[in-house]
């Protein structure tokens, strides 16, 4: 072979720095713009006029001509900043949305380390890097990557590009759509974006600190009177995480709803005036039947409560059979309850069970005039280990010459009020979504 020339192209002294920018003139507005990732960038949206330029080739071609006002970005195009120890330059800015919920993305570049994505969603910043390795699909909607597990919570959704500014390495345009899925993990998420031609995975980790200041940018509100084609502050929300509202907001709405519940309970507490009747009943004696009173129910449908209270006793029970009989239609509603109280002594000491009150509630009683009839019968209860049944003389109550071991019973009928059960169910339903959201946020915050 003729050549064993050893011309070296291993440089001796370091070559001079190459320019990092390529200056071009916008064919539409004549503004001077710089291509910061020449050789990679394909599309550039002029920051002065909004026209879309093809910068893939040395000659810059105009694709779409626009004449928007110059826009202000919190992170200006070309700004340098250091994130996680890496110096990065702002190349481009995008606003994207899923079903109207929008967020912002900045494309950042370092000639030696490649591209990064800075995402701002509801004021929260995160840093994204595209993967060169594919995550591994596990069962269900889980993937693993770099030894960590990530799980998809929501169905894939369509992300649309709403606004573009600056330089990008693909032919980005407003209206462009990809199918996006987010896989959530501890302290990081994986975003998978697909279209007909490719699938891209990005690892996104939350960023703390003042990102805007790191790039020497201005915070929203600091620029007075600047003409804006794009809003200068965080755009209204989203990203998969905040799409359903953050927990504090939801709890606030839930609190307001609870307040309404209380108001409603008070509003519907009124009803027909209560009627009370007192009588005595003899344990193991004859049952007593009497009409407590007449109750007029005004509403088309309402709640009725029948409350019975008795004097004190032990180891007895009183069967209460209530009837509501409508005078005009002769319709009758029967409901039962009992007042019971037991006590005794066992190996753990003294025990008691029961109460001296019984309340029954009747739902949806139709309008009408009702007689409230009560049949009461008292019985003694005895068993090994229980004290003998006793009763306390009814101090303070009208004793109408009855035998001293009679039990005094007072029955009250009333209408209106709210069912406590309804209230608890409503409260549970109200706080279920924010509770779930909070659990979810706590889990993914680890």
């Amino acid at each position: 072979m003729a050549d064993d020339v050893t011309e070296t192209s291993f440089p001796g002294p370091a070559p001079p720095s190459a320019p990092a920018l390529k200056a071009v003139t916008c064919p539409s507005c004549g503004g001077s713009i710089a291509i910061r990732a020449a050789g990679y960038s394909v599309t550039l949206v002029c920051q002065y006029c909004g026209s879309t330029l093809d910068v893939a080739n040395p000659d810059v071609r105009l694709i779409t001509q626009l004449s928007q006002a110059a826009s202000h970005l919190d992170l200006p195009l070309g700004a340098h900043g250091v994130l996680q120890g890496l110096e990065l330059e702002v190349l481009g800015y995008m606003r994207r949305s899923i079903a109207g919920d929008a967020w912002e993305e900045y494309l950042l570049f370092n000639p030696y380390e490649g591209f990064r994505w800075l995402v701002r969603d509801e004021g929260d910043w995160s840093l994204g890097v595209m993967l060169t390795t594919l995550p591994k699909h596990e069962a269900g909607s889980e993937v693993t990557y770099a030894g960590r597990r990530f799980r998809r919570q929501d169905a894939p959704s369509e992300a649309r590009v709403d606004y573009v500014l600056g330089e990008f390495y693909w032919r980005v345009q407003v209206g462009e759509k990809v199918t996006a899925e987010t896989y959530e993990g501890h302290g990081a998420d994986l975003s998978c974006e697909r279209n007909a031609d490719e699938t891209n995975w990005t690892l996104i980790t939350p960023l703390g600190g003042d990102v805007v200041a790191a790039f020497g940018g201005r915070h929203p509100g600091a620029v007075a009177g600047a003409p804006t084609a794009a809003p200068s502050g965080p755009v209204s929300t989203s990203g998969a995480k905040a799409r359903f509202g953050s927990a504090p907001h939801l709890f606030l709405v839930g609190g307001a709803a609870t307040l309404l519940l209380f108001v409603l309970m008070i509003a519907f507490s009124g009803g027909a005036p209560a009627q009370t009747m007192r009588f005595n009943v003899t344990p193991d004696g004859a049952s007593r039947t009497l009409t407590v009173g007449k109750i007029t129910l005004p509403r088309a449908s309402q709640r009725v409560t029948l409350t019975s209270r008795s004097s004190q006793f032990e180891n007895m029970w009183i069967d209460m059979d209530y009837s509501l009989i409508e005078r005009r239609t002769q319709k009758r509603l029967d409901v039962s309850g009992s007042i019971e109280h037991y006590s005794g002594v066992d190996s753990d000491g003294r025990w008691t069970e029961g109460s001296y009150e019984n309340r029954v509630t009747v739902a949806s009683v139709p309008k009408g005039v009702y007689d409230v009839v009560v049949e009461a019968s008292a019985h003694r209860w005895s068993e090994n280990g229980s004290s003998p049944s006793t009763s306390t003389p009814q101090a303070g109550w009208d004793a109408t010459g009855a035998a001293t071991n009679d039990l005094a019973v007072e029955v009250t009928s009333a209408s209106g009020g709210a069912f406590l059960g309804n209230f608890w169910v409503a409260l549970l339903l109200i706080f279920l979504p924010p509770g779930v959201r909070l659990l979810y946020e706590m889990r993914s915050r680890k």
Partner: protein, 49 residues
């Protein structure tokens, strides 16, 4: 506003409305008895004293 927050508002509205309707008509599954316990008295008649 986020669609999720609006959905939640609607949900709360539904729950509160449901509660209001139930309260105004005194309906509940938690009652000791309901209107279903109502029946015709037949020839027993009201029991007056």
């Amino acid at each position: 506003m986020q669609t999720g927050a609006i959905l939640y508002l609607v949900w709360c509205g539904l729950v509160v409305t449901g509660f209001a309707v139930a309260s105004s008509s005194g309906s509940s599954p938690f009652a000791t008895a309901g209107r279903g316990a109502m029946h015709s008295v037949g020839f027993y008649g009201p029991m007056h004293k």
